[in-house]
Symmetry: C2
Subunit: 335 residues, 2 copies
DNA sequence: CGAGAAAAAGACAACGTTGTCAAGAGGCAC
DNA sequence: GTGCCTCTTGACAACGTTGTCTTTTTCTCG
């Protein structure tokens, strides 16, 4: 029998006699034949590969793996699969991943951009490969779909949250400023402080340390000074953890207010709970994938920029009132 | 000029005149041509697809995403990429993923098996698709490479750790017993208890709840009974968190010993720290990928079973001595 | 039983590459 | 100028599928 007949049976096309169909099916079962999807999609040019690429910083970071999960959910609805790769913040690696994915003919790309330059991506944009940026925003590319948290607004909210409790001496601890979101968060902090008529002193802003341990040491240094800040804004996950350990070790968790950007596990278990402005990575991923499929399936349209709103989660640490002196354990916690 | 000439230039083959090479390169740059890797690999049959599939339970769970990260690292060394998909413990979904990956001609599969049956996977095993199981072990397939933590040994160690501090009334809280690792952990607990000559009473073993909240309520019930257990073995992540909250709410964190299976973030920040038998998911992933590539590239060999050893991390909670009565806050913490 | 139509099966090209082999261009020695 | 060799270039088939068209078989009905 001919190859074409087999093709017909496999695709359950009309017009094959039951006898032959049965024989083909039997042989397929016997031989364990699996059609080669690559050849299929090569032949039928209007069929896409059914794969999208996701270039992220590090899958083992729960923030990013939740984004991946969100993407995967939407991809699944469209019968798509996700090819992912971690850059570790290395833009050469990002370029490699993008090239490899494109050469494998992914139908679209979702990228957490690393560094401010976008390398071979700009070529892809020109060629019309559907592309969505998540979480961060490279300087160059404002003609591309984008989904991210409102880093600046969130930082402003967090700062205002402390200001509203009467804090005037607030310390800001943030990520290195070569990271886009770190710059925005710092900007949000400044904005809130200045709107409150407070001068932002340079020695109350530190950025650039990397591990929770480093942050713990630094925050400890801050807290043994006089005068010390009455509130801390720890503008990233690891920083929040480091500061938490510092406060804990000094026995100051009840006395110094702390609010973090990004949620922390167990943030509700410690006492007082850790107040934060969380991000919603699952939602970031879902929205990004939705934008991508919209572009894949729909008509061309103007680039979309989605900036997800934030709000403060109050758990205790952010609601501590300022205590300039060293009072006798004021268990008072407003609200 | 002919297509073949372009092919030669793209692959930098010998024997194309500099003039033509330059012209081809210029056109490629001008047109933004990207070779189609699928067609390439279709033609050269000895070339693999350069993609491996990873079927896991849920990428947004840090345990699994760390495994993915480990796999990715090894894959990268081999110039491979990883296609991943979450099953959410649904074995129908697992079958779909496996089929889709196979039909896309992944060169190998790494699977965290869901449920005890392996469905279409057994067909793949017969067809010789390289396959490695991680973390869990389906009943049927003992002729397949496997990497997992020594769940039973780890549970035994955890239990012995409490026994060594003099605990005799230990409560076990575990995952539903349809999960392979949950059965092994329970078995490890029993083994240690029986070796110590203690009878394992049914009412001291609970399995099957799902969320930290449920566990919190259940553990609270245990702790307000008389007599109450003096030590808790919380045999999974979420359970540890739930119990932690229960102990915390009752003010018993200093008085009741607790040891967990799986590490918890912030486990070192709370007081006392949470003693655990951690798993090393990154290492699980790395080893699984190494086994897969060994099979992909090397000669056929007998199935390999790697059971990774565990050890207790002491952080305080697991070293609390038994306190049968309600003593006057003994701040004593052995070790 | 034969003509015509409908149904079933197959032949062939094509998707975008690369391996194989043949053809053409140019150089050198006689 | 001829023969031979080398260096470039191109023609063609093939990978595993499917779309299109053609051929063969079967069925229907007068």
């Amino acid at each position: 029998m001919s190859i074409k007949t087999v093709s017909r049976v496999v695709n359950r096309e009309e017009g094959v006699s039951p006898v032959l169909t049965a024989r083909v099916d039997a042989s397929i079962a016997y031989l364990g034949y699996q059609p080669d999807d690559r050849a299929r999609r090569l032949r039928t040019t209007d069929l896409r590969t059914g794969v999208i690429g996701f270039v992220l910083v590090d899958v083992s970071n729960p923030f990013f793996s939740s984004i991946l999960r969100g993407i995967e959910e939407v991809a699944r609805e469209h019968n798509y699969f996700v090819l992912s790769g971690s850059t570790d913040g290395d833009s050469a690696r990002q370029d490699q991943l993008v090239s490899a994915f494109v050469t494998r003919r992914v139908d679209g790309l979702i990228v957490v951009p690393t560094g401010d330059s976008i390398g071979p991506l700009s070529g892809e944009i020109d060629r019309g490969t559907p592309l969505v940026f998540v979480d961060l925003e490279p300087d160059e590319a404002n003609n591309v779909d984008l989904v991210r948290t409102d880093h600046q607004g969130g930082a402003r909210q967090a700062t205002e949250h402390l200001l509203r409790r009467g804090h005037t001496d607030i310390a800001f601890f943030g990520s290195p400023l070569d990271i886009f979101s770190a710059r925005l968060r710092l900007a949000g902090f400044r904005e809130a402080m200045e709107a409150a008529g407070l001068t932002v002193r340079g020695e109350r802003m530190t950025t650039g340390l990397h591990t929770p341990d480093q942050w713990q040491r630094l925050v400890t240094d801050y807290l043994v000074q006089t005068p010390r800040p009455t509130g801390l804004f720890t503008a990233q996950n690891f920083i929040t953890l480091g500061a938490l350990q510092a406060l804990h070790a000094l026995g100051l968790r009840d006395r110094i207010a702390q609010i973090g950007f990004d949620d922390v596990d167990l943030g509700a278990v410690v006492t007082p709970g850790v107040s934060v402005v969380p991000q919603y990575p699952l939602e970031l991923g879902r929205r990004a994938a939705q934008l991508l499929f919209h572009r894949l399936e729909g008509a061309p349209h103007e680039p979309v920029r989605e900036i997800l709103a934030t709000k403060v989660i109050e758990r205790g640490s952010g609601e501590i009132a300022p205590s300039l002196t060293t009072p006798a354990r004021p268990r008072s916690r407003p609200r």
